[in-house]
Amino acid sequence: MSNLRAPASGHLYCTLKDESSQIRAVLFRTTGTRLRFALEDGLHVVARGRVTVYEPRGEYQIILDYVEPKGRGALQVAFEQLRTRLAEEGLFDEERKRPLPELPRTVGLVTSLSGAVIRDMLTVLHRRCPTLHIIIVPVQVQGEGSAEQIAAAIQLLSESGWVEVMIVGRGGGSLEDLWSFNEEVVVRAIAASRVPVVSAVGHETDVTLADFAADLRAPTPSAAAEAVAPVLAQIVSRLAELSARLQQVIGRRMEEERQRLRLSTHRIAAVRVRVQEEMQRVDATVFEMTAAVRLVLQAGQSRLVRAEQGLMSGSPDSRVRHGLAVVPQLVARLHHGVRGGMLSRVQRIESCLAHLHALSPLATLRRGYSVLQRIPTGLVVRAVDEVRVGEDLQARLVDGRLLCAVKAVIRDASV
């Protein structure tokens, strides 16, 4: 297929060719809308139609009434084409994905009421979260008009505000059966939903465009139910645990604070004692300092007084006055001194005489002592060892002399 043109009329014109030949082809609008995939240049197709002549140009042409991609199925081509287009639009972007609510109270289900799927989902949802409020919007999940129903149901749930999250899905089936979930209306409805959408189409191996647009793709409807419904018991126990921890931590904290308060009180008491001690020390120091200062002051004062006195006494005026007062004294002392000097000299002479008299040997002799002298030297004999037996000595008495001969020398043993 080449040279594809699509004018406003809606009819499609192209050229079909192979290695050796070519022919113009027309696809009228009514036929074209029935195609599940879009025609593209370069597409290998198997086509069926009537050969006619286009008279204005005198050319053969083929009016197509059936076209199918060669090799791949039409659905697969359509799938890939739509996927590319919507992906380019950003409908499948990762940033668009919203997290599911942790504890939804209401969940919407867009699926068929017949079959095991609805039963499985309800069972799983209520097993995990017995208090869940579930709103089902029943739809045909295959066949003519099913895509529109699904899209409308998604839009309705999205806009109603009834649910916080929804599951869109169906059980397993053929590619044809699942096809509604590849339809553009469904994909766009999912992408446009105001609440997060979980897709659950067929089995794990089935991938639809609804899965790409959904906020979460669940491999199966049961898995979708598990993803949506939290285990209520876990939430209840988590809440209980948080409450318990809250009470515990505040209790512990209060005990710590009480302890700290007690400690602070003790420390304050200790500080008070120390403050009192310090106050005493300050007082004592102040006393000492006052006393010391007073001493210094006093010393300074007396030095000042002394200095003043010295200054006063050293003044020429007082010295002159003092000198003038001294003169008569000196005169008096001079007179007195002369007189006194004479008097004392007479007395001294008299006392000398008396002394002399007392020391005179004559006085001693008068008292009965005698002096032994050698002859002729007159040397006084003071000890018995100085004389020998037979020697002559003279003894002086107060009124004369005796000539004596030494008859014996008797030493006094006691001396």
Partner: protein, 85 residues
């Protein structure tokens, strides 16, 4: 709406417990968020207690008006019955 609030409340409660367990906050601040935590946990519990098990199905009456009806799994023929009623 309530669920969003519930999750926020749980997250906040979690944060409060964490903060208190860290012990870095001054006492008056701790007491303040403790009271907040107590309030949150009570509210969360209330939300959980008030949640109600219910299954409803959207049906369309004869005039094309859509409304919610109670739905039961035991009702095997509910599909056709509900859609027609």
């Amino acid at each position: 709406m309530a669920a969003v609030k519930f999750e926020q409340a749980m997250a906040r409660l979690e944060a409060i417990v964490g903060e208190l367990e860290n012990g870095d906050l001054p006492l008056d601040e701790s007491l303040k968020i403790f009271e907040e935590g107590i309030r949150l946990s009570k509210n969360c519990l209330k939300v959980l207690e008030e949640a109600e098990r219910k299954v409803e199905v959207l049906v369309q009456d004869k005039n094309g008006k859509k409304q919610l009806r109670a739905f039961s799994l035991d009702d095997d023929d509910v599909d056709a019955a509900s859609l027609e009623s």
